[in-house]
Amino acid sequence: MMEDVVTNINEWLDTNTFHHRQFWDLLNLIEVKERQGLTISLCIPTLNEEETIGKEIVVLKSELVDRYPLLDEIAVIDSGSMDRTLQMAANFGADVYLSADIFPEMGFNRGKGENLWKAIYQLKGDIIVYVDADIKNIHPRFVYGLVAPLIYRPEIKYVKAFYDRPLALSNEIRPSGGGRVTEILVRPLFSLFFPELTAIIQPLSGEYAVRRTVLEQIPFPVGYGVETSHLIDVYSRWGLESFAQTDLDRRVHRHQSTRDLGRMAFGILRAFLKRIRAHEIVSGMPELTTSLRQFQARGNEFEQIIYDIAEEERPPMIEQESYLKKRNLNN
């Protein structure tokens, strides 16, 4: 059994792990895309990202809409920024939406997963590529590196990004993987319950491209758990072979505090355990609390801070009558 897992992982790593340099020929990529009649939407979920959003829109629109027409739309879906994120994005030519204004009969939750889910409703593309707004070294590879495997390989459904591979010329050996939450929480959990998913080098990376036919069939936790749940749900339904991953080299972004990562880990763990229960992998699991308790020191005293992290989940979009009607899928 374990041998099968190792074999599958090795085969998958050989065939479904790419480097963005393999897709440098954008003219050819666009030709193949157009031959298939595919449309591609870029979704950038935002909350107070005025520092980086301008550059991201300028570079991606100029390079991947104007110069090389790979993208059919660029949309910013915002959770209610208090800064100038929306004005900046609109100023440089992105379509700008407030998450709360999309599909309003479903209400509004604040969270990245909510914006990603609303994107399925709002955007037009057969492929949606999600790119976080906090990338300081944005480059077109962050998009074409992810959509190219979907264009060239019809059997691939979901492409994740990974970063910072050791230099081939260097003798130095460095761990190449995810951040702290990936290595301390997600990778051990996957090793225990979904060992094949450990092949994905950075399961929590915020950049991925997915076919609409997949996105509309999976539920979306509105907060931190969205990436982890996607991997489990897509894996459970379509198997490891439906995934690919692309090395996008270096990604420079904000550093998060350990306290913030604690909250992230809590949300991920809740989403994970929910799936463990749904798949009947473990039984007798108690009702999960939504409260995370953290401490901070003030003078000689410790103060408790209790966060409520409910990690609500949005249902598969395909189950929504309004969506079916909008996309003429009723028949």
């Binding site: 550059k55 300028v58 629109k61 110069r67 070294n137 420079v252």
Partner: protein, 390 residues
Amino acid sequence: MMNRHENDIGRIIEMTRELPSRLKPFQEMLLANLVMIGEIPASTFHEQNRVKFLVQRFTECGLQNCSTDEFGNGIAILPGKDHKKTILLVAHVDTSFDNRVDHTYTVNARHVIGPGSGDNSLGVAVLATLPTLLSKLGIQLQSDILMLGATSFREQGNLEGLRSFLANQHTDLGFGISIEGVPLGRLGYHSMATMGGEIVCKFDTNHEHRPGAIHVLNRVIHRLCRFADDPLNDATLTLGTVEGGASYKVPARSATLRFLFKSDRDEIIQETTEEIRKIIQTVQGETDCWIDLEVFAKCRAGGLDPSHPLIQQSRRIIAGLGISPIESPHTTVISGFHEHGIPALCLGITTGEYINYPDEKVEIAPMVTGIAQLIGLLLAYDGGCCDEHK
């Protein structure tokens, strides 16, 4: 003939006035190139990655002869209709920032901010974007445009990329334009004679009980200033940077001054160089400090006369866009062209602040005007409006 050219330049000035609004829809292409070029570090002598990107852009634009020469310069040709004349467009690719500095750029509603954004990532971005802009505007010149991303330009580089290119190329270049990011309105067409260099004062042995190298350098600086202030002397001195020492507690073991002398005449700079050597010998004799002079940047005086038709028409084109020309008595790059007898001028594209500091920034809105003046000037030269009357 005069009347025909007068009509032509009038028409070109009118057309140039409309260009900023016609260029506005393509502004993001320039900004994207600025960001992508600016984020590739390119300190002097280490510009190869930036040149590689530039040449790739030239190739993507369908230019001819896209290549890198033996001096590391990036080169391409935008062919004209009749190939009778060739215009050289040059932007230096190197910046004043070490390649280890964080080169991440930021774009906000008004500015692009990042090291080297104005000097000279924007100039290089204009070079990379111009072929696309001309194509979008439906403009094809009669003349060929030779695009040059010049390496080893700044400070110790001493225009080496440009000088080597000009010394080794065989095209009859009718006219050269150097594109600088800032400031908009800049109109440089003359170079003063200059000598830029470095004076290093250094103690080789234990020096704790002596005045340190900074004291010695101070003596040198004092004498240089006295020489520069002498009313009989025609050279002006700029004290650029001073570095030295390791701690506030101990006398400095070494100290370095970087400076520039300028004059209208080459022979004055020659005499100044001799005078500096004498000052160094004198101070060296008074102390037992080792003092060395390295001259790393030398320019000959020369360039175009302010009444040259090229300059006159440039003034009119710039003024036609509502900008006051900023005419500088000294633009280093002109010296490189002058040595090869090529008429040339230097233009700026936009306004900027904190140039050569890490928070260097350039203003977005004026960029289309800066490009409009460049295109206007290309059209004027191409149409014969800048020819000297015999």
